[in-house]
Symmetry: C2
Subunit: 199 residues, 2 copies
Amino acid sequence: MSHYPSSLLKLIKHLSRLPGIGEKTAERLAMHIIRSSRKEAESLAASILEIKDKIRLCERCGALSDREVCDICSNPHRDESLLCVVEQPADMVAVEKSGAFKGKYHILQGALSPMNGIGPDAIRIQELLHRIREGRVKEVVIATSTNVEGEATASYIADRLESYAVNVTRIASGVPMGGDLQYVDPVTLQRAMDTRRAV
Amino acid sequence: MSHYPSSLLKLIKHLSRLPGIGEKTAERLAMHIIRSSRKEAESLAASILEIKDKIRLCERCGALSDREVCDICSNPHRDESLLCVVEQPADMVAVEKSGAFKGKYHILQGALSPMNGIGPDAIRIQELLHRIREGRVKEVVIATSTNVEGEATASYIADRLESYAVNVTRIASGVPMGGDLQYVDPVTLQRAMDTRRAV
C-alpha cells in the first residue's frame, strides 16, 4: 500500500473507515474515482457535504429530513389518528415501501437495551408520550424489531400507554410471505402457531 | 427509496455508481456518513477532490503519481538496467509489495485484446520501445498477467524487442507458494510440470 502516492493512500484510508469496506475494496473504489471524470468526483464530494448541511431529524417524529418538519408529518392527507412507532429511520422507510400504512410515524432512535445502558430516557419515549397527550392519536402501532431489545421496547411502551385512551397494537409476526416452511426457524414457527387465526 | 429526503437519495445514487456497491450498501454507507462527524465527512470529500487534483500518470513509466515523474523513476538507487513491464498500476504495487524487484517499471495501461479492439497502439508499447532505445536497459522482465491477453501481450513485446540488445525474461508461472497441490488447477499444474527445473 505504501507504494501508492500519498494523496491516494489518504483516500484509501478514508474509504476503508466506511462500514463493510475493507482495504482491498477501498483500493478498488479509489482506483475507480481516479479513472472517473472530474465532474463525477466533484458531484460525489458535493453530495457528501450536502448531506451534512441538509439532513437533520424531523423535530416532530425523528425521521431523517431536509426540513424542520418532515414530508410525512406535514402531509395533511396522512391519518394523524394512527401512529407507527419504529426504532430507526430505515425501519420507517421499510414500512413506507410496503405501502400498508397511511398514518404518521414516531422514530425512537434506538431500542431499550439495559445491558448496553440504553434506558427509556436514551430513546424518544418522552416525545412519544407528549404526542399521545395531544389527544389526536387513536391507535399506536408498535413496529419495533422482533429481537430481544425490540420486544422489550414494545412491552415497555405498551405499559406506559396503558393509562392513555389509545389502542395499542403490535405488528404481526410469523412465517414470512413466500417462505418455504421447512426453512423457517423454530421460534418464528412457534410464534406463528401461537398467534394463529380463524380463516 | 423515494421515502428518503432528496439530498440523501442523491448521495445514495452517487455511491451506488461505485463498482461493487449496490443500492443496499450505498444506503448503509450514506447512513454512516449521516451519523459520522462533520469533520470526517469533510475530510472524505476533500480527499476525493484532492485525488483528482494531484494524481496523474508518471510521464516516464505511467505509474500513478502526484508528481510529473514518480518516486521510483526519480530514485537514483533503483537499478535502471532492469525494467519490469506490467499492465496496470495495481500490478506494479503488487510487485513492489513482494520486495523482489529493485529496478524500474513500465506500465502499459492495459493488455492487447484484438477482440475488444485493443491493439499495440492503444497501450504504451511505443513508449516502452522509446525507453529501450535510450540504451540503459539491459533486461526487460515481462510481468503481464498469465491470462490470454497477458500472455499475448508478453509474446508481442518479446517479438518487438528481438532486434534490440536487451535480455527479455518472463516472470515464472507455476504452483503458488503455500498452495495445496490438490487444489491447483490443471493448466497451472501443466505449466509447472513443463517448466520444472533441476534442484
